[in-house]
């Protein structure tokens, strides 16, 4: 009992004396998690693509012309300039929405080597982390309740309705969109983290 108390006191001291703030730490965790999710998404996509035959591949390449991702309704910065211009909070909220939008559809993703139920809980965890980050920021409390109400996807059941259809095209779209969105979140979070970090060179 006494040792536990000592340990806790030491930890608190250590934490307080740390140059890295809680925010930093949370950001790091969130970034690492989203990076992992992105890698997962990449692997799923590449596995799926390799399993396709060349004929099908050619067909599927053409569908990129369409706007098929369910998260397309979420307005997000699409270049560096826009991203730089956005506030941290905005970035966080967008990330949050993106992750949330994938929470349900990720269950229908074909597992491949990793079982599909891995992705959904990870997304939930990430969502929780981002929420924490939002609350930790200054005006998060204000922004959050609004955004959450408005951000119901118009096609909330887009993939739900089509989940029964296990066509090749659907799977391809799903995986491609998932990969893209994960990369978006990763980028936004990284940028947000670097913006908060006191060091100039935040890639360390």
């Amino acid at each position: 009992c006494l040792s536990a108390v000592l340990l806790l006191s030491l930890l608190s001291l250590g934490v307080s004396s740390q140059p890295i703030t809680d925010g930093q730490r949370l950001f790091s965790i969130a970034v690492s998690r989203v990076q992992h999710l992105h890698l997962l998404a990449q692997r799923l996509f590449s596995d799926f693509e390799s399993s396709l035959q060349t004929e099908e591949q050619r067909q599927l390449n053409k569908i990129f012309l369409q706007d098929f991702c369910n998260s397309d309704y979420i307005i997000s910065p699409i270049d560096k300039h826009e991203t730089q211009r956005s506030s941290v909070l905005k970035l966080l909220s967008i990330s949050y929405r993106l992750v949330e939008s994938w929470e349900f559809p990720s269950r229908s993703l074909s597992g491949g080597s990793a079982p599909r139920n891995q992705i959904s809980p990870k997304l939930s965890e990430l969502k929780t982390g981002i929420l924490l980050l939002i609350k930790a920021s200054e005006d998060g409390a204000e922004l959050f309740p609004d955004s959450s109400a408005l951000q119901l996807p118009p096609y909330g059941n887009y993939y739900q309705s089509l989940s029964a259809d296990e066509s090749l095209r659907r799977t391809y779209e799903l995986l491609a969109c998932f990969k893209k969105d994960m990369h978006k979140v990763e980028t936004y979070l990284t940028v947000a983290k670097c913006r908060l970090s006191p060091e100039a060179n935040c890639t360390l």
């Binding site: 012309l65 560096k80 670097c194 100039a200 890639t203």
Partner: protein
């Protein structure tokens, strides 16, 4: 007018010269987009490869469509990136948006469209190589190491976190061919250890975004590692001194023990050691003295403690009508299988043994040795019945005279042979006869320790022992056992042999009747003087009535006398037959066909007065095998 005509002509020429020349123009070939790259995820460039131009000046144009709209844009910048390229600047570049790009080649005759390519800028990032690379030598507790440091490419915005890069560097010695790769991760410095003293190293770095392509290798940095050999040198010096010291010690040890080592490795050659042999004498050269020294007084042994071994003793057995027990002498034929006790006493009853005086000694004497040989041979062979048949045959062949075959099958019984009769001269030595006789003899020396040996059954021996010689000794206690045991043993063995021999015998009439003639006695007991007391077989062998191999027609006659021609005169006695056949022969074996008298006359010449001294019984059957019978 003239000018107009000239102009027309010129124009015509212009138009038609190509046709006259034979050249053909065609629409341009299909161009292909080779690659698109973005160095920093903010701008990107696409390159294409033009097809054939069809002989006419061709222009290329790049058109693209963005993911969300149908609007077609043309490439904003054809020059910045060089020939056959299109550069998209920051304003035109959107991330996470699919671009559908097409290149069109156009000439006067037509145009050609390339295959469309979909590009997402995020996945085509290939940064520039790292910059400001430096390599320095640093020391860690006296051991040097390289520290490499670099900067990310200028354009890549890693500071804002827009792009994150990982680095990799490679090192090699100047003279080597293989690079040593090191992954540095996100860091911008790296340490390399385990350097070769005085070596010259080459270092290069490259980078890659999280999801993208590796950049090109940076420019090479050269660095020379200073010599820190002095440290190693001292170690070597120490080692050298130490090893020299040890070497000296070893040499000294060797020197001290040189003699013993020499003896160990190169032992001296031993000189000759002959008892009584004096090297000095040899040198002196007096052979007499030398060899006299070699003389050993005891050799060759003039007296032998085992002199008795050399004596050949015969066991003479006969079965008189009155069941007279005979003395016998043990005959030690051969030391080998016959562990015979010797009785020096030449208690020769004189009944037909080779040594006995009743026989013709001359021939016996001559043949004694041979007999002995054969006996020995036979004894040997008897123990291994069939194996030595050949050898036996050889022995038999040595004999000039045809042997009177009188094969005696002893089934544990003594059988007397008409050995007093020498074979008739008419009967040239018949190898078969001899063989059979010897074979017969063979049988009797069984592997049982009852050393039953057959006397040498040479032809000449026929004169002598046609007896069975028993070698009995104290060592053969089992002979004291009831006769049946011996009988059984011997019977079993000899019965087989009998059959064999019976088959082997040539149809020369000599032999078949010989089979028939047998006398059988049983060993009653062995007395203290190592004499086998025999008794004739009592009837009881009725079961063997039908025994096929048993010779039938056993005729025994008492020797009446010897006539002047050395002919054995036999006296036929009827009662013998019954008695002799005993229990092993049917009465029918009594063959009245035998003509004893005739046989007698044709009997073998008897040598000496052996016949009379014998038990007086001769196997007339054998006699009667004589053709003259």
């Amino acid at each position: 007018m003239k000018k107009a005509v000239e102009l027309v002509l010129l124009l015509l020429l212009l138009f038609f010269t190509p046709h006259i020349m034979g050249k053909r123009y065609s629409p341009p070939g299909k161009p292909t987009l080779t690659r698109c790259r973005s160095p920093e995820k903010e701008t990107f460039t696409c390159w294409w490869e033009p097809g054939s131009d069809g002989g006419l000046p061709t222009t290329h144009a790049l058109y693209y469509r963005k993911e969300s709209s149908e609007r077609v844009y043309e490439c904003p910048d054809y020059h910045t990136a060089g020939e056959n390229s299109c550069f998209f600047n920051k304003n035109d570049t959107s991330i996470w948006v699919n671009y559908n790009i097409t290149v069109v080649a156009t000439n006067t005759l037509g145009s050609a469209f390339s295959d469309p390519v979909d590009v997402d800028v995020v996945y085509i990032v290939k940064p520039n190589p790292p910059e400001k690379q430096t390599v320095t030598i640093m020391e860690d507790k006296g051991w040097p190491f390289l520290r490499v440091s670099w900067e990310p490419p200028q354009k890549a915005d890693t500071r804002s976190g827009w792009i994150t890069l990982i680095y990799e560097l490679r090192v090699k010695l100047e003279e080597e061919n293989e690079w040593e790769m090191h992954l540095a991760g996100h860091q911008k410095t790296f340490n390399i250890f385990s350097l070769r003293s005085g070596g010259k190293y080459l270092v290069e770095v490259r980078c890659k975004p999280d999801h993208g392509f590796w950049s090109e290798w940076s420019s090479t940095s050269y660095i020379k590692v200073p010599d820190y050999f002095h440290r190693e040198k001292s170690v070597w010096i120490l080692l050298t001194i130490f090893s020299a010291f040890i070497f000296l010690i070893l040499t000294w040890l060797l020197h001290m023990n040189s003699r013993s080592l020499k003896n160990c490795i190169l032992p001296p050659v031993p000189g000759p050691k002959i008892k009584g042999f004096d090297n000095q004498l040899l040198k002196n050269g007096k052979s007499d003295e030398i060899f006299s020294a070699l003389m050993v007084s005891n050799f060759p042994p003039t007296t032998s403690s085992n002199y008795e071994d050399l004596l050949v003793e015969y066991l003479e057995v006969y079965v008189p009508v009155e069941q007279e027990l005979m003395q016998e002498e043990s005959k030690d034929l051969h030391g080998g299988c016959l562990k015979c006790e010797r009785s020096t006493s030449d208690s020769d009853s004189g009944r037909g043994s080779c040594d006995s005086h009743t026989l013709l000694m001359d021939k016996c004497g001559e043949t004694k040795e041979e007999g002995r040989h054969t006996d020995r041979a036979s004894s040997r062979m008897l123990t291994e019945a069939q194996r030595h048949q050949k050898g036996w045959e050889k022995d038999t062949l040595t004999y000039a005279h045809g042997d009177m075959v009188s094969p005696d099958m002893s089934n544990g019984r003594v059988k007397t042979w008409p050995s007093v009769f020498s074979p008739l001269p008419q009967y040239s030595s018949n190898p078969l006869d001899k063989q059979s006789s010897l074979e017969m003899a063979k049988q009797h020396c069984l592997s049982t320790s009852s050393c039953l040996t057959q006397p040498g059954h040479s032809t000449k021996e026929a004169l002598g022992p046609s007896n069975w010689d028993f070698c009995l000794g104290n060592k053969q206690p089992h002979l004291l056992h009831p006769q049946t045991q011996v009988g059984r043993q011997l019977q079993a063995h000899s019965e087989v042999n009998i059959s064999n021999i019976g088959r082997k015998q040539a149809p020369a009439g000599l032999q078949s009747p010989a089979l028939r003639s047998t006398e059988y006695v049983e060993v009653q007991r062995v007395n203290e003087e190592d004499l086998v007391l025999l008794q004739p077989v009592v009837s009881g062998c009725g079961r063997i009535e039908g025994y096929p191999q048993m010779p039938k027609g056993k005729d025994y006659s008492k020797v009446k006398g010897v006539d002047s021609d050395n002919m054995l005169l036999l006296q036929r006695e009827v009662m013998e037959e019954d008695w002799w056949t005993g229990n092993c022969y049917t009465s029918s074996t009594v063959n009245t066909t035998q003509k004893p008298t005739a046989c007698i006359h044709t009997a073998m010449p008897v040598q000496g007065d052996m016949a009379l001294a014998m038990n007086g019984y001769v196997d007339t059957a054998t006699m009667c095998t004589l053709p003259t019978c």
